[in-house]
């Protein structure tokens, strides 16, 4: 498998001590890497740094072998990074269709075709295509945030706690969708508090503690009630 997202020695500091401290990880194409860690471990900061939304330093930060160092967020999106942020952040005043279309480049016909593809992939959204996004339920907004990111055909998808605030059944549907996204060849980096759920779809688990990588394991060999893991997530 080719490595799609490569991170080496990533460090984020908000003025004080680093909250992400020399983290290295790789996400191969077609796989899900679960990024676990207690509250404040640095998961969101890592994702925001990869996306270029907070300043960071790194020995290497590359997508598909292309170096992203110093690039602003929009150039990183062009390079193939897709971002589904904490709290979903759909464009509340835009319709479902507009939320997807706004993320797609190209001529009107090509955009419409891509929107239609995404709505086919997310039937729940298709039924609400003309609604303003603020009217959607939490689960639908989460699906929209994922559809919006996927509409750009990213090679890497960064997801920050997509199950937060969702009912278990809805969260299960979101995770099933993420597995399918990875199967289609996308490299998925998934930050989650709910370790059991993340491990169920992940190939690899990486645990952050105080901004450092504390554990890297194949997800298959790791149970959510593993003692070492539980201690790190506490």
């Amino acid at each position: 498998m080719t490595t799609t997202l490569e991170i080496e020695g990533l460090t984020v500091a908000y003025g004080g001590a680093p909250v992400v401290d020399g983290v290295s990880l790789a996400v191969p194409a077609g796989s899900v890497v679960a990024l676990l860690g207690a509250n404040g471990a640095g998961k969101s900061s890592l994702m925001r740094a990869v996306m270029g939304l907070v300043p960071s330093t790194a020995r290497r930060l590359a997508v598909d072998g292309r170096d992203l160092a110093g690039h602003p967020p929009e150039r990183r999106a062009d390079a193939g990074l897709g971002y589904v942020p904490e709290g979903r952040r759909v464009f509340a005043g835009l319709t479902v269709r507009e939320n997807i279309e706004v993320a797609v480049d190209g001529a009107a016909g090509a955009r419409a075709a891509r929107v239609a593809e995404m709505l086919e992939l997310f039937p729940d959204l298709a039924a609400k295509a003309g609604e303003r996004a603020w009217r959607l339920s939490g689960g639908q907004q989460q699906m929209l945030a994922i559809a919006r990111a996927l509409a750009r055909r990213p090679s890497v998808l960064l997801l920050d706690e997509p199950s937060l605030g969702l009912a278990p059944l809805i969260a299960a549907a979101v995770f099933a969708r993420l597995r399918a996204v990875a199967e289609s060849g996308v490299a998925v980096l998934l930050a989650e508090q709910n370790a059991a759920r993340a491990l169920a779809i992940a190939d690899t688990a990486i645990v952050l503690a105080h901004g450092r990588v504390a554990l890297v394991r194949p997800a298959a060999g790791l149970s959510a009630d593993d003692e070492a893991l539980a201690a790190l997530l506490a």
Binding site: P73, A92, G93, E101, A103, W134
Partner: protein, 295 residues
């Protein structure tokens, strides 16, 4: 029927104020800050109209004001770009207060330059549509207010179509709602915001040219227009585009009615008093603002 004429005049005034308020609220939403020089873009549009018609008249050309409209819009769109280049671009990663202060300075520069170039005396911009009143259903209606309603109405419809029907408009609304998220999706936020300044300048300048016939153009009128845009936005719910347009119409109606009943001076004084009352009693605006529905 004086009432019909009054209403048509109020609608004409309101349509022009709506252009002013629209540009103001678009920049407010895009850049997340008040452009204090907004009123001076109105004034400079009026100056451009007066200057162009004076130059043409000196060359023996007496063109109707409507012909000058595209020129005025282009010139004031460029003024909007200047405001963006000085008041927004260098400060785009700073807190909104930075842009507010920078545009106060810019407003002063515009006013001083206009005074130097144009003199302190008010001057009338050319009429958009000259001639005797037209009689509609037995009522004599001035041509200028009718032309004003038509031109401003077309401009408003054009901006509506741009915002709601095009990818640029969608991108603009996304940037206005969540700039960081929009950038993470690849949208060129800075370009869109600079574009909003140019559009706001064009709309403001158009309003200045339209209003400058009846209400004259003078170098010091910028702040009063800025305040009206501010009041319209405060009435309509800070950040709401339709709210700002309704606010602009209400201000015009208010000014017309109070001017008719009392005087123009009273109209201005009471307008500013009602702004204070709104800010104190209903800071969310007369119509409130549903969270997340800003555009």
């Amino acid at each position: 029927m004086p009432t019909v004429q009054l209403l048509v005049n109020a609608l004409a005034l309101g349509a022009a104020y709506a252009l002013v308020a629209l540009g103001f609220v678009l920049v407010l939403n895009a850049a997340g800050a008040v452009n204090f020089a907004h009123g001076d873009m109105v004034m400079l549009g009026g100056v451009a109209a007066v200057a162009a018609s004076t130059l043409l008249a000196a060359g023996g050309l007496r063109l109707p004001g409507i012909v000058l409209v595209p020129l005025v819009v282009i010139v004031s769109g460029l003024v909007g770009l200047v405001v963006a280049a000085v008041g927004f671009w260098p400060l785009r990663d700073r807190p909104p207060a930075a842009m507010f202060v920078a545009t106060i300075a810019l407003a002063a520069v515009f006013e001083q330059s206009a005074t130097a170039f144009f003199g302190p005396e008010p001057r009338a911009a050319p009429a958009i549509w000259d001639g005797p009143p037209v009689i509609i259903g037995g009522i004599a209606l001035g041509r200028q207010p009718l032309a004003l309603i038509l031109v401003a109405g077309l401009a408003l419809a054009g901006v509506y179509a741009l915002l709601e029907r095009t990818q640029i408009g969608r991108s603009f609304r996304a940037v206005a709602q969540d700039r960081e998220m929009a950038r993470a999706l690849g949208l060129r936020a800075t370009r869109l915001i600079v574009g909003a300044f140019a559009l706001a300048g064009g709309l403001a300048g158009l309003a200045g040219a339209l209003l400058g016939h009846q209400f004259f153009v003078n170098a010091g009128q910028g702040p009063a227009y800025m305040l009206k845009a501010y009041i319209a936005t405060a009435i309509g719910g800070w950040g709401s585009v339709p709210g700002a347009l309704v606010g602009a119409l209400l201000i015009a109606l208010f000014e017309m009615l109070v001017s008719a009943a009392l005087s123009a001076v009273w109209a201005q004084a009471l307008l500013y008093l009602s702004l204070l009352a709104i800010l104190l009693l209903r800071p969310q605006g007369l119509f409130g603002e549903a969270v997340g529905r800003r555009a």
